[in-house]
């Protein structure tokens, strides 16, 4: 495993991402990872606070399009995330905090897909969230925050 991670990190692509003398490599990939974060977590949190009762004049149905933005964000972050992982596979791949980040994202995705089915799965979305939808919204708020926190701590945890 260790050997494989080292190979990844020292591959042409890995070395290009981490050390090419251009802003288009590591800096831009990292920047796009933040753009993707905003496109996933921003709409998710808007939907979550709406389901928890804020801005109740807004029909929940109007937020159906949020998932399209989140999907684009997720595509951006999966791609940039893989590139960043390859470039630091040996340094970061085995850190426990990285697994916390991945687990938070996996749980957040499960919660998001259940929330989508619970709220938008049966025709026009109801404007008063069911207790189940409210619980899922709370879980989504917390899990995305956990993913951001673990992601940031990857720069600090040894």
């Amino acid at each position: 495993m260790e050997q494989f991670l080292l190979q990844l990190q020292e591959s042409n692509f890995g070395v290009w991402v981490s050390s090419a003398p251009t802003l288009l490599a590591y800096p831009t990939i990292l920047m796009l990872h933040t753009v993707g974060l905003a496109m996933i977590v921003g709409p998710a949190w808007v939907l979550d606070v709406r389901l928890l009762g804020y801005g109740a004049r807004l029909p929940v149905e109007a937020l159906r399009g949020a998932f399209r933005i989140m999907w684009i964000g997720f595509f951006i972050n999966a791609s940039t995330g893989i590139a960043l992982f390859i470039s630091e596979a040996d340094d970061k791949g085995m850190k426990w905090i990285f697994w916390v980040k991945l687990a938070s994202i996996a749980l957040a995705l499960i919660v998001t897909s259940r929330l989508r089915r619970a709220v938008f799965g049966g025709g026009i979305a109801a404007d008063v969230a069911t207790p189940r939808a409210r619980s899922l919204a709370k879980a989504s708020l917390l899990l995305w925050f956990a993913a951001i926190t673990a992601g940031r701590l990857m720069a600090y945890v040894k």
Partner: protein, 168 residues
């Protein structure tokens, strides 16, 4: 001039206090800065998309009900941003990319101010389903571009222009 101010600020008790707490203060503030960014851009982005003609059946004033959350995100980022600058002023004042970030912030702020003062009432009175006037679409476009600029410059800070003010 700013670097003189930076070196003065760096010696103030509050800056020194921040510097001593850096081990937990920076990761905490950085995390909150990213969370605030998502909240601010999520809400402001939704409002801009509405001005651009998405979710047309929803009155603009209804989408505006979410603005307090954008303000929560912005306040969080202003507070944590000030903590970064106060603890390491030269790192920011000496970096042209930081000034570019501030410029984008000012553009975003002026744009929001122009919207509120010149178009706020017109936007609120716009019937649901109606196409938004071009002026509002321009404001929405400027908002999206300037917030993207804030994000771009903020994330590029360590890579572009860093070190200009180093050593202070």
């Amino acid at each position: 001039m700013f670097l003189g101010f930076a070196s003065w600020l760096h010696k103030t008790p509050i800056s020194v206090a921040f510097q001593h707490q850096v081990a937990w203060l920076w990761p905490t503030c950085e995390t909150l800065h990213f969370a605030g960014l998502a909240l601010l851009l999520g809400v402001a982005g939704m409002f801009d998309l509405r001005l651009l003609g998405f979710m047309k059946r929803v009155p603009i004033s209804v989408v505006k009900d979410f603005m307090p959350w954008a303000l929560v995100g912005f306040s969080l980022n202003l507070l944590t941003g000030v903590i970064f600058v106060v603890s390491e002023p030269a790192q920011y004042f000496g970096n042209p990319t930081w000034w570019l970030k501030v410029t984008f912030l000012i553009i975003a702020g002026l744009n929001a101010f122009i919207f509120e003062t010149a178009y706020g009432r017109r936007a609120a009175a716009l019937p649901a389903g109606e196409d938004t006037p071009t002026a509002l679409k321009i404001i929405a476009g400027v908002s999206l571009i300037s917030w993207a600029g804030v994000l771009w410059a903020g994330r590029m800070l360590p890579f572009l222009g860093a070190g200009v003010g180093a050593g202070l």
